[in-house]
């Protein structure tokens, strides 16, 4: 079978009758069979179900009445609820738990005839930058020798990278879609906050969480966004703004005004190849007639503290429901309530998750609330105002997706601060709620992919995708 990288190619061949959905699913299942044991991208594979669904879609294609995503074999991150299927957020705490409803994004892809082939590994509750913080063990990058996939949607990225599915739905709270997409040489889109309903997305930090696609092409990300975006009765925070035809991919302008963060591109901490690739991309943009200017972002040093104070605060509360009482894991020999709580949560949550719960509990506590939470909210507003003001003068803000390419497995796990620094460039989009994409931008000396991040104004996904597609060479 041909190695497809876009849905359009697949649909063309499906309509021509040269392939069938069943063959596609069999192809991906074979790859999963061969590679998953090593890469650990999927934690559940719905083989029988996907084949059955493939036959149904094949019939639909024959009848000429098929959905927009017919022929798309999709994997979903273990944070998305898929009715009657296990979902565990990469955590032991949800052992044995099955979703009782379809999340909105999941429902919408199913309605358009996507075939969900399986559930993908991720950092526990999306808390991690390397996908090493999972109850199911680390995900391995398909490229390089023992490199991390990036996180937290590591399984979702590697699954696409290794042709175990065509596309994935991940989630992005601080870079969790863009970072693994960057580490794996893929396209990863984090939409504007509230563009996609969060109904059925297991919350890490409610005011940051976004569902986003990971694909091989910008076009597939655009098509997926078209399907999953839009208003939803179940999520009162979701935007009612009209969903545009993102997949047209026609840029409105010939030349754009682009700003890059001086601190990000000129930083000493940047891996030389990443720096070189970024500068090369900026030069390329200039050569294409775009205006490219450096801007200062003095608040950049506040990105990570703001992000970690607010997300841990929200997550300490969001994760309180996992108490061993109603569902999921309960520690054995829990004879008394407090003991049950302590044992259950200590035994089930991993260190990083416990660290964040404790940090969040601390910043929300009465004596420290104003010093941390209130202050971080203020800084969040300042960062937003400053970012918005930049985007009044520029169409896009660009920078490398991450300061380095994928780390070696275990390289950063001992030092959380080093780990958090990897999120430096991606968290801004979540702090301010703006759309951002990571597109491939070459490789380092060892062949590890480099990502290039583009951020746009609120609900400017159409322009963002069209521009990204145009500059992806």
């Amino acid at each position: 079978m041909k190695n497809y990288s876009t849905l359009r190619e697949i649909q063309k061949d499906l309509l021509a009758g040269t392939i069938t959905c069943r063959q596609l699913v069999e192809f991906y299942l074979k790859n999963i069979d061969e590679k998953n044991l090593k890469l650990n991208a999927f934690v559940s594979v719905y083989a029988e179900e996907s084949l059955q669904k493939a036959d149904e879609v094949d019939l639909k294609i024959k009848s000429g009445n098929y959905g927009k995503l017919a022929g798309m074999v999709l994997g979903i991150k273990d944070l998305l609820c898929y009715k009657d299927h296990p979902v565990s957020a990469g955590s032991k705490i949800l052992d044995g738990f099955e979703a009782q409803f379809n999340g909105t994004a999941v429902q919408r892809v199913l309605d358009e005839d996507a075939i969900i082939i399986g559930r993908q590994n991720c950092d526990e509750f999306g808390m991690g930058s390397t996908n090493e913080n999972s109850n199911f063990g680390p995900v391995l990058n398909a490229v390089g020798d023992h490199r991390v996939a990036g996180g937290s949607s590591g399984g979702s990225a590697v699954a696409v990278q290794a042709d175990m599915c065509l596309a994935s739905l991940g989630t992005d709270t601080g870079g969790s879609v863009r970072m693994p997409a960057g580490f794996c040489g893929l396209v990863g889109l984090k939409p504007t906050y509230s563009r996609v309903s969060r109904w059925g997305l297991i919350a890490y930090a409610s005011s940051f969480d976004c569902i986003g696609p990971i694909t091989k092409s910008v076009e597939d990300s655009a098509i997926l966004l078209e399907v999953i975006a839009g208003s939803d009765e179940q999520d009162s925070t979701v935007s009612t703004k009209e969903v545009e035809a993102y997949s047209e991919l026609v840029p409105e302008k010939k030349s754009y005004k682009i700003a890059y963060l001086r601190e990000a591109v000129e930083s000493e901490g940047l891996q030389p190849e990443v720096k070189a690739a970024t500068i090369a991309k900026l030069d390329f943009l200039k050569s294409q007639g775009h205006t490219v200017e450096a801007v200062d972002f003095p608040l950049i040093k506040h990105f990570l503290p703001t992000y970690y104070i607010l997300t841990t605060a929200e997550s300490s509360s969001n994760l309180s429901r996992f108490d061993g009482v109603k569902y999921g894991f309960r520690a054995a020999n829990s004879k008394e309530l407090i003991t049950m709580y302590k044992k259950t949560r200590s035994e089930a949550f991993r260190n990083e998750t416990r660290r964040r719960i404790m940090l969040g509990t601390f910043v929300l506590s009465a004596s420290y609330y104003d010093a941390y939470y209130t202050k971080a909210q203020k800084v969040r507003r300042l960062v937003k105002e400053y970012t918005d003001s930049l985007l009044e003068n520029y169409d896009f803000l660009v920078c490398p997706t991450t300061p380095t390419t994928a780390y070696k497995i275990g390289e950063k796990t001992a030092d959380p601060i080093q780990m958090y620094l990897g999120d430096l460039f991606t968290v801004q989009a979540n702090v301010v709620g703006l759309p951002a994409i990571s597109i491939p931008n070459g490789e380092d000396n060892e062949g590890m992919p480099i990502g290039f991040q583009i951020m746009a104004g609120a609900f400017q996904e159409k322009e963002l995708l069209a521009f990204s597609n145009a500059i992806l060479v």
């Binding site: 998305l80 609820c81 979902v87 957020a89 949800l94 738990f97 979703a99 009782q100 409803f101 999340g103 969060r198 109904w199 059925g200 997305l201 297991i202 919350a203 930090a205 409610s206 005011s207 009765e233 179940q234 999520d235 009162s236 925070t237 605060a313 929200e314 300490s316 509360s317 994760l319 309180s320 429901r321 996992f322 108490d323 009482v325 109603k326 569902y327 309530l337 709580y341 509990t361 929300l364 506590s365 009465a366 609330y369 939470y373």
Partner: protein, 485 residues
């Protein structure tokens, strides 16, 4: 307690009253919010706090809170947000309660209470919206606890008073007014036994004239207004005695035991809790527009004190009557409806407070179960007013028939049963003559001065007329006849 010692202290009481709103569905989910279903049947992934679920605000609950706010004269906030109150307990499915900590929906307002010393307004600090928790069940002899999540997520308003209630009596009157009000508004059934109306009492004592409040104690678990009264009556001397003995009062939560009438400390220390409130990120700010507010205003029913005013001023009823009739919205409405058919308001009042109420009480019925329509009751009252039947005939003979027969008018019932009073003096005179003729010896005794026999003659005449003789007219005629003998 020695009244002299008691009088040295001033009592400060603040109430936190929770009222469960009678919306059809829960405040953030579509599950039914009604009471009494089998455990864990009114639940859904949202109610159970399943991962991936989000709250969706029930606008009806908001409207109910607005109604309450409007009724008590609160300022209704036009923009507000919800907060999370974080704590662990098995009956709290998400590990936090969605409430309004910083921006309550209603600010200020108050309720007038009638006291022996006169009227007083108990002011509200605020009223806010929140969700209820589930219920823990501990079965006798079982080591496991059970949780019923039916109640989890039912909408509540919490009314927080200023600390300006001075006695158990004031608290009692206040709760009575609040219960009446929420029932009038149709936002809560006011049932304290089932817990749809709950009251936590904060009590402290301080020396008269002191500017500094004493340490307050919170009392929970009173399942009736009477028990709120009893709990405070127990707590005041307990605290005063402690202060008198020089003991420090501990800030704590105490539970009231209705069997003993005592309060006792609960183990959990509320003051230790840090609820880590922060704005609920899963809900957008709640905006109450002018239009919305106006729409709710048009749905406001007449309030008890407005009706009280109307009944005393327009209908000239005594305050006592107006008080009884406005005790419940249904009674007041029945009264008003009846008054649209007759102007004899006092008679309507007497009927409702007397015959109707005792019938309802004896049969354990509510006015809503009462089968006699206001129009038919008015017809009966008119029948009496027209001297066609006596009051006692109406109450004892026609009223029971009205209950049984919903077709015939009171007049038809009176006619069929020969109950129309005979005020026709001709036929009365012949009855009187008959009776007197049949009782010659007694007539002689009467004439000799045994005037008490008049009643006996009356009784005989009434018997012969089968009760249809108009007693007033008959007495006069009888007297005249006897005098002329």
């Amino acid at each position: 307690m020695n009244p002299e010692i008691r009088s040295k202290y001033e009592v400060v009481i603040g109430l936190e009253v929770h009222a469960q709103l009678q919306t059809e569905t829960k405040i953030f989910a579509a599950d039914p919010a009604s009471f009494g279903a089998l455990p864990n049947t009114h639940i859904s992934p949202i109610t159970l706090g399943h991962p991936g679920t989000l709250p969706k605000l029930n606008r009806k609950a908001v409207e109910y809170a607005i109604k309450l706010g409007l009724a008590v004269g609160s300022k209704i906030s036009d923009r507000q947000y919800f907060d999370r109150k974080n704590y662990f307990y098995p009956d709290l499915p998400k590990g936090y309660q969605i409430t309004q900590d910083k921006t309550p929906i209603c600010i200020g307002g108050g309720v007038k209470v009638k006291l022996k010393e006169g009227e007083k307004t108990v002011r509200f600090h605020h009223i806010h919206l929140e969700e209820d928790a589930g219920k823990m069940l501990h079965l006798d002899g079982e080591s496991d606890s059970l949780v019923d999540y039916n109640r989890a997520g039912t909408p509540l308003v919490e009314m927080v008073t200023e600390p300006e209630i001075k006695s158990a009596e004031e608290a009692f009157q206040f709760m009575t007014e609040v219960r009446k009000l929420v029932r009038y508004l149709g936002i809560c059934d006011g049932n304290m036994e089932e817990g749809s109306l709950r009251c936590d009492v904060n009590v402290s004592v301080m020396p008269v004239g002191s500017k500094v409040f004493g340490t307050k104690v919170e009392i929970k678990n009173m399942n009736s207004i009477r028990n709120v009264y009893r709990a405070i009556e127990f707590e005041i001397p307990r605290q005063i005695e402690m202060v008198e003995r020089g003991e420090a009062i501990i800030q704590e939560t105490r539970s009231f035991d209705a069997n003993t009438g005592k309060t006792h400390g609960m183990r959990e220390k509320e003051s230790m809790n840090d609820y880590r409130y922060f704005p609920e990120p899963d809900l957008t700010p709640l905006i109450i527009s002018e239009d919305w507010l106006s729409a709710v205003k048009t749905q406001m029913p007449a309030l008890p004190w407005e009706l009280f005013e109307k009944f005393t001023r327009e209908y000239h009823l005594p305050e006592y009557d107006a008080g009884v009739l406005t005790d419940s919205r249904e009674i007041a409405e029945y009264f008003e409806a009846t008054c649209s058919f007759t102007n004899n308001y006092k008679a309507v009042s007497n009927w409702i407070m007397g015959t109707v109420k005792s019938y309802l009480n004896e049969n354990n019925l509510e006015i809503s179960d009462f089968s006699v329509s206001p129009e038919r009751l008015a017809q009966l009252i008119i029948l009496v007013d027209e001297d066609k039947v006596s009051n006692s005939t109406a109450a004892q003979k026609i009223f029971p028939e009205l209950l049984k027969d919903s077709v015939k008018t009171p007049l038809q019932i009176a006619e069929t049963n020969n109950l129309i009073q005979q005020s026709n003096t001709d036929s009365l005179q012949s009855l009187i003559d008959e009776v007197l003729a049949a009782n010659q010896p007694k007539v002689k005794e009467y004439k000799q001065g045994k005037k008490g026999l008049l009643g006996m003659f009356m009784g005989e005449i009434m018997k012969k007329s089968k009760g249809s003789a108009d007693p007033k007219v008959t007495t006069a005629l009888l007297q005249k006849t006897l005098d002329s003998l």
